[in-house]
């Protein structure tokens, strides 16, 4: 039998009011980072698998939006810093063991890849507004010739970005809910799924819409499996980890996690997309909207619920 333990401490009143150190900025950044990773992975995969002729204008628009969305995410991260003037310190050092240092370099390195991909496959409305400039033309013709290597760089950069958003949380061992190697995979798969969903929102071509829907169903199935692995892995680690998991399974975050994230954001869109693929339902913008909302809320739930249970309680 577990012995009965009661704790009291000088700082108990302080901790009772909550010990929240990361607010809305972090989940918003994790969502946008994952979304951009998903956009890069999807478009790169289409180029590598089917050639650049299969890249539709919706995908070109997605490529153009990626650096904008990533910058918004980095803006959210910047808002979270309590010593904003020291932000340059991230780029005066490289600490490979610190995921946040690694991630800040990944963020910088994916920008040129995105820019070159945009130049190689420009969105038509954007391309017509590009000024004629000798240097720009040379970079553009170079990028056009290097589309396949660029697609590989986009794929690897997207995977690094997607995995890192989860690893960032999982290396902070002090929070039992995040203490799982599954988080890296979960954020990669979820990010890819939101990237595909964002492209489905803009896609007009029916065949491409169906191709994206097939990919999304596969990604959602994988995401459900990784969520199960994450929960089961933690629940079998010990009392503290079980308590952390109970926050999302039966505690204050359970309605949001089980009801909105798992049911509304994964199961419902998975069934609707599978039905649409079999011709039993219409392809609808509602489905990718649900996936995107579910992806955003997943990150809110994980970041907030993870701060509920920590190693120390008083």
């Amino acid at each position: 039998m577990q012995p009965h333990v009661e704790l009291d401490s000088t700082r108990a009143p302080l901790l009772e009011t909550g010990h929240l150190f990361w607010g809305w900025e972090i989940p918003v950044y994790l969502f946008l980072g994952g979304l951009v990773a998903g956009l890069m992975i999807t478009v790169s995969a289409v180029i590598l698998r089917y050639g650049k002729e299969r890249v539709t204008s919706a995908m070109r628009l997605g490529l153009l939006a990626a650096p904008v969305l990533l910058s918004l995410g980095m803006g959210a991260l910047f808002l979270d810093l309590t010593l904003k003037l020291h932000v340059f310190r991230f780029y005066l050092t490289f600490r490979p063991a610190a995921p946040m240092s690694l991630g800040s370099w990944v963020l910088i390195l994916v920008y040129p890849v995105q820019a070159l991909l945009v130049l190689a496959l420009p969105w038509h409305a954007f391309a017509s507004r590009l000024p004629a400039h000798a240097l720009l033309d040379r970079v553009r013709s170079l990028a056009e010739r290097l589309v396949r290597p660029l697609a590989w760089a986009g794929l690897l950069g997207g995977i690094a970005l997607g995995v890192y958003t989860g690893v960032l949380l999982s290396t902070t061992v002090a929070n039992p809910l995040w203490s799982s190697s599954s988080l890296g995979f979960l954020f990669l798969v979820s990010g890819s799924s939101t990237g595909v969903a964002a492209l489905m929102m803009a896609e007009r071509d029916h065949d491409t819409q169906a191709m994206l829907a097939r990919a999304d169903v596969a990604l959602i199935v994988a995401e459900l499996a990784v969520i199960a692995a994450w929960i089961i892995g933690l629940a079998t680690q010990g009392p503290l980890y079980r308590e952390a998991v109970s926050v999302v399974l039966s505690g204050s975050y359970a309605p949001m996690f089980l009801g909105i994230v798992v049911f509304g954001g994964l199961l419902v869109p998975m069934v609707l997309e599978a039905m649409a693929l079999r011709g039993k339902a219409m392809h609808s913008r509602l489905v990718p909207a649900l996936v995107l909302a579910g992806g955003l809320l997943l990150r809110f739930v994980i970041v907030y619920a993870g701060q509920e249970v920590r190693f120390f309680s008083v």
Binding site: R89, R310, F311, F312
Partner: protein, 177 residues
């Protein structure tokens, strides 16, 4: 040199003088703590036991806060203690997320702050503020590598434990039961 702190919980009466002395010495802002006193009651009446601990940063030898700090703001001092370089801190709070003891907090001036083991005092040959003020002499700081030191003698005597050993951080603050 490996500076450690050994705290005799059988001497501690939970007066919290260490908390006040630390706040005074290190100008710890209102509502924040570099050290705090935890009372842990175990068992069912009448078989009860009480342990009172003055807790703080454990100056871990495997400090997750240092591993996860993206700018190198948290670093190991030559004496093994964990220190913070305020000029490198961005306030990203990765270290706060990494500390299993909740020893770190965001200072109102933006940087992250925690117990420094009063190295500025130890280097001058003075005891830490908490050690100096402790009315029962429960707190002892010193060099564990020096076999003649008081802390080395207490460590040899045994019956020591650390807080949250399961966090695998190799803490350097020891408690005598």
């Amino acid at each position: 040199m490996r500076r450690v702190m050994v705290i005799d919980t059988s001497r501690c009466v939970g007066c919290e003088a260490c908390v006040i002395a630390c706040k005074n010495e290190n100008r710890v802002p209102e509502g924040k703590y570099r050290d705090w006193v935890t009372q842990e009651a175990r068992g069912e009446f009448p078989n009860l036991s009480l342990e009172i601990r003055s807790e703080r940063c454990n100056h871990c030898s495997d400090a997750h806060c240092i591993t996860n700090c993206p700018t190198g703001s948290s670093w190991y001092n030559d004496d093994g203690t964990v220190q913070i370089d305020r000029s490198k801190c961005t306030g990203c709070k990765a270290c706060i997320a990494s500390c299993p003891y909740g020893a770190r907090y965001v200072h109102p001036d933006g940087f992250v702050d925690k117990c420094s083991l009063c190295v500025h005092r130890l280097d001058r040959g003075q005891p830490t503020a908490c050690e100096e003020v402790c009315p029962t002499g429960a707190i002892v700081t010193g060099d564990a590598d020096d076999p003649g030191s008081e802390v080395a003698r207490l460590i040899r005597r045994g019956s020591l434990h650390v807080v949250h050993p399961e966090a695998a951080t190799r803490p350097n603050v020891y408690y005598i039961r």
